[in-house]
Amino acid sequence: MDAVPSIKAFELPLSVKSNDPVNGEYRRLVLAAPQDLLARCRAGQFFHLLCPQAGGETPYLRRPMSIYGFYPDQGELHFLYKVTGAGTRALATLALGDKLNVLGPLGEPFTIADDWQNLVLVARGVGLATLAPLALEANRLGRKLTAICSARHPDYLMSTDYFASLGADVITLTDAEGTSDLGNLEQVIEGLVAAGRADAFYTCGSNRMLRLLQTIGERHGIPGQIALEQQMACGIGMCHCCVRPFNRGDRQVHLRVCREGPVFDMMEAIAW
């Protein structure tokens, strides 16, 4: 039996440095955070945010939000969020100097195996928030990265400059240009596979993309990881409200998105 676990998650009030719209639907929240907290953060992990009771909204439970960026040198923790309901509307009211109570970092991060030299990241919409810090990690480890970014319209493409600045090959697909359909996406990915530029896939959120990547992965024996979402209460593994089913061997198991996830083996994930 191991000894008593060490303290890994922290509940802290952090100051807002900025909270600006990125485009019509998304906002970027920048918090001032202590270096020792930032040093613990890993790509794929999340924080559980206590959204303020503000703007006429009264959110009660915390809201999970992926780490979009963590910069120990600047003392900054970034989130990219889409305003959808009470909690995120309340988040949108935060202004310079306001405090936000955060809990984290939580969950299991993405991993990059030693023999995964060529990474392919496939993201759409707010999924970019979750995958962005992976680009930083790939860059740090000197891995080649292709970022396939999909959006409704070129105006809603986010983080492409960011990926490019980290040396990634960026491929953009949009509904408006008619390039984001699954058939085209499959061709693009098969092209990367043929060119030997796909040792592992990273994705999140979308059901259709998961199915496609599982098919391609199976066809060529390429592994992958997926970040998944589920409604949460505690965020640290106590309540078992955030479970999803996964295939493991010949069994189906229920795993907690907050604890065993949010990053899971792409092949074990079950489309919903």
Partner: protein, 314 residues
């Protein structure tokens, strides 16, 4: 120095603050030192393996929440092998919460978890059981008495009976639990509730209905804790909607000897630590030397029994 220690049916706790079953696990050890707590109370387990309910399993309602987690359980074997040894690292006593579909299955599990390292057993008689058409044992005095007698015969450890607000016979059920052999009462579990999404017209919980917990539950559970303390001679552990130090003090004054904190931990994982520190400060500020001076100190005058034990709003 303020004395925070309390005695719960022969089990001495260093302070009266402990987690509520289902809102606490080993995982919280990554947030603070679990040895600060008065007791450790585990999530209810059943004998066999269980899957729990369909998702979504939680939703929020006006500053409180509903849950329909159910009792996903890895079974008693895994529990004895993994969970009990984990808590052996701590001085704080371990209280194991159990449940069963039938009184006999319940009693078997009760003896199976009566092992070294377990200080008391909390029997969750507030979840639905098969023999009673899906009604909880603790809805009726007779089924409460029957199951408690079987549980009493199955163990020598202190038995805490966890009651449900889904009854119209609070004081009768409390007395039945005491007569059946309970050493303490935990009052109370969640109250059956429902929420519907008006846009999709679907229930917000995958299981249709669930249990209300959090601040909205407090006045109901507080009323029950008061009634149970008046109805019996065993300690009452108050539970329901506690999030502030004032909530803790209110329960103690009503007659609770200790309290359990549930949903508040989801909002502030360190809530119980703040409450322990806050209680000590508050008592010192009042010039009290022991938390026990507060217990049951409510000034309720000379009330008729029919008033104290009423089961409908006046």
């Amino acid at each position: 120095m303020v004395d925070l220690s309390v005695d719960i049916g022969g089990l001495k706790l260093k302070n009266p603050i402990m987690p509520a079953s289902g809102t606490f696990s080993e995982d919280l050890a990554e947030v603070f030192d679990l040895d600060r707590l008065g007791a450790h109370v585990t999530k209810t387990i059943t004998r066999g393996w269980r899957d729990g309910n369909p998702t979504p399993r939680v939703c929020e309602v006006n500053g409180s929440m509903l849950n329909s987690i159910g009792i996903p359980s890895k079974g008693v074997g895994a529990f004895l092998e993994k969970v009990v040894p984990f808590y052996a690292h701590y001085e704080t006593p371990l209280v194991v919460s159990i449940s069963g579909n039938t009184a006999d299955e319940f009693a078997t599990l009760c003896s199976e978890v009566s092992v070294p390292g377990v200080a008391a057993i909390e029997v969750n008689i507030s979840c639905p059981n098969i023999e009673e058409d899906g009604k909880a044992f603790a809805i009726r005095p007779s089924s409460t008495h029957d199951v408690m007698r079987k549980l009493r015969a199955a163990t020598d450890l202190p038995l805490w009976a966890k009651l449900t607000p889904n009854t119209g016979e609070t004081s009768e059920v409390a007395r039945a639990a005491e007569e059946g052999g309970a050493d303490a009462l935990v009052v109370a579990n969640t109250i059956l509730s429902m929420a519907i999404d008006i846009n999709t017209r679907r229930p917000k919980l995958g299981n249709l209905m669930g249990g209300l917990s959090g601040p909205s539950l407090k006045p109901i559970a507080l009323r029950m804790a008061y009634q149970c303390a008046r109805a019996t001679n065993i300690p009452v552990i108050g539970c329901g909607g506690i999030s502030t130090i004032e909530d803790v003090i209110e329960y103690l004054i009503a007659g609770a000897s200790a309290v359990q904190v549930g949903t508040a931990t989801f909002i502030h994982p360190t809530a119980m630590i703040s409450l322990i520190d806050g209680l000590e400060d508050w008592l010192a500020g009042q010039g009290l030397s022991s938390v026990r001076e507060l217990v049951g100190s409510v000034i309720d005058g000379e009330q008729d029994e029919a008033v104290v034990f009423m089961e409908a709003a006046p």
